[in-house]
Symmetry: C2
Subunit: 374 residues, 2 copies
Amino acid sequence: MCSVVQHIQTHVVLTIDNVARTASMRRLPMTLRDEILDQPAVADRFLARAPETFGPLATTLRSRGIDHVVIAARGTSDHAAIYAQYVFGIRHGWTVALGTPSVVSIYGARPSFDGSLVIGISQSGASPDVVAVVAEARRQGAATLAITNVPGSDLATTAETTIDLGAGPEVAVAATKTYTTELLAIAALSAALAGGPDDPEALARLPDALGSVVGLEPDIIAMSAAQAGADRFLVLARGYEYPTAREWALKLKELGRVFADPYSAADFEHGPLALLEPGVPVLAVVRPGPARDGFVALLDRLRAGFDAELAIATDDPAVVPLARWPLLLPAGTPEWLGPIVSIVVGQLHALHLARARRLDPESPRNLRKVTRTT
Amino acid sequence: MCSVVQHIQTHVVLTIDNVARTASMRRLPMTLRDEILDQPAVADRFLARAPETFGPLATTLRSRGIDHVVIAARGTSDHAAIYAQYVFGIRHGWTVALGTPSVVSIYGARPSFDGSLVIGISQSGASPDVVAVVAEARRQGAATLAITNVPGSDLATTAETTIDLGAGPEVAVAATKTYTTELLAIAALSAALAGGPDDPEALARLPDALGSVVGLEPDIIAMSAAQAGADRFLVLARGYEYPTAREWALKLKELGRVFADPYSAADFEHGPLALLEPGVPVLAVVRPGPARDGFVALLDRLRAGFDAELAIATDDPAVVPLARWPLLLPAGTPEWLGPIVSIVVGQLHALHLARARRLDPESPRNLRKVTRTT
């Protein structure tokens, strides 16, 4: 474990470095809300740099003959890993193992990474357990990739190649813009490796979609005020949006100090449905795609049979009548890119629920920005 | 989706079939508590049949040149899959991908299962999404294995080989003895494939250990009475015992209708630590092994710094002073087999917390025994 002093020193150095690199930074300190609202600009910058990063990276990876992926990550970055599980599984036919880092870092196992692409995802790049998995993979000669906001970090120097998120300093304890940029990095990598002809244009539209979704803030403030007394939430999604449910719930826990339980709609029926009762709002993300109809049927049952109070983030007008709190996502985002946009609803919700509960979203209880677990 | 009528017919037929096969069954219906207390006998029966099952299975699998594992499962069986992730990762050096079944079943992806062992785990063997993953793997010629309590189920007939749990009919909605037998199947498979010289004796001691852990019931009843007013819990473990935290939390949700949040001790510090406050009991499983010291240090911080009310299931006398509610596990179980024993504490806790909260553990709200998700 590194000392707190060392952590602070490192962080200051990197902050100054990032300020120099970041054109859109005007002032310090930024608040959590500033960082949420900064996401359209961050995505725009990331995409502007993407061709120089992802073209060569795709060439390198193609030459390595990847047939499956192992990802090591913790916390919010683990939700980016789940997104990668869907993207690489559905679009590339790769099986994706989400690493249990302790298998390597604590138990000292040496799993064979033959034929694998091993990815470490960490905004700080500092978590020793994530670094340990990537180090072992590199020792074995497997393809290794770091996705991090700190290009000089242990993780970045350990991996063979690094995607620098370049999201600028993230000062708030709760990760927001580094999460959406982690997802964007995975999406851009997928497009570079095996993209369809529509992918570049769809990616290019994301900054506008992010700009549009932050416009839901007034609706979210009103909803949060109505929910200020709730201390338990359920968050549901299916398929590509499952990581959004996970990340939305984590943000609610970190900032709102509420118990928020995330489920894929399929797992929800295997037990947790027992938790549904009056006063437990159900938050859902509904997008087009093959999972839509079954999921909408479930939400309809929850509303009709259990009188569930539904908040639904969706771009599908047909779903709006199910929701007590409809949150209309911008139209035109393909299903696979949706999680980059929809999580902004969850970030704003956690921020404003915290305020409605008279908590300080800049100082979530008990937490530090960089967590170094072994 | 199959109709309810078809489900009921199938279930009745299988129940009668199982009664004929199951020597220890004396009467119907069994209650949830009967099924929990039946686990020593179920484990004993399973191990008596193990040599004839696992010897040939290990020979078959060795001939297939497995280098990684993909597992499809839902709900409780997904926690058995997490156990397999640790067992196969640490003891065999295999990477283990927990399938996102919808990638295959809903999105229609055809991931390459070349070199994989693909395992479907389901007590009923009836969930179409789990069957879909195994069917695709078999179509590709990969090694496939079903672990199920219903040897005539879709899952069993789809896979190349089946481990029949033989746990007898499980009538209660909450899975208990099928879960411990799923873990036992994974452990016996590991021992048959690459076991150490001590494994057979360690496995043979498990029925006695299970018999001993049910003796904690009076302590658990007293603890549950004291916690009857709590509706939020945190459940922590690390390494091999992480699936125990997941399954303990799920049982608390299903039966006690409380929000119970399970975490690996590492992930807990990445955000959810914010949830800790008076009135939120912290449940933990502490076993010997390389993860022990760091985890005990965390629990010590939670107690000293946050006044956390700790319930600790452990076989380590040195940890007992940390706990308000110590639950002494039987000594002598190797770390890797611990989850088969320790979850019984969670099962009894969920049962008695439900009773303390004046709920009926035989009829958990909103749930059915067999959940068929696509």
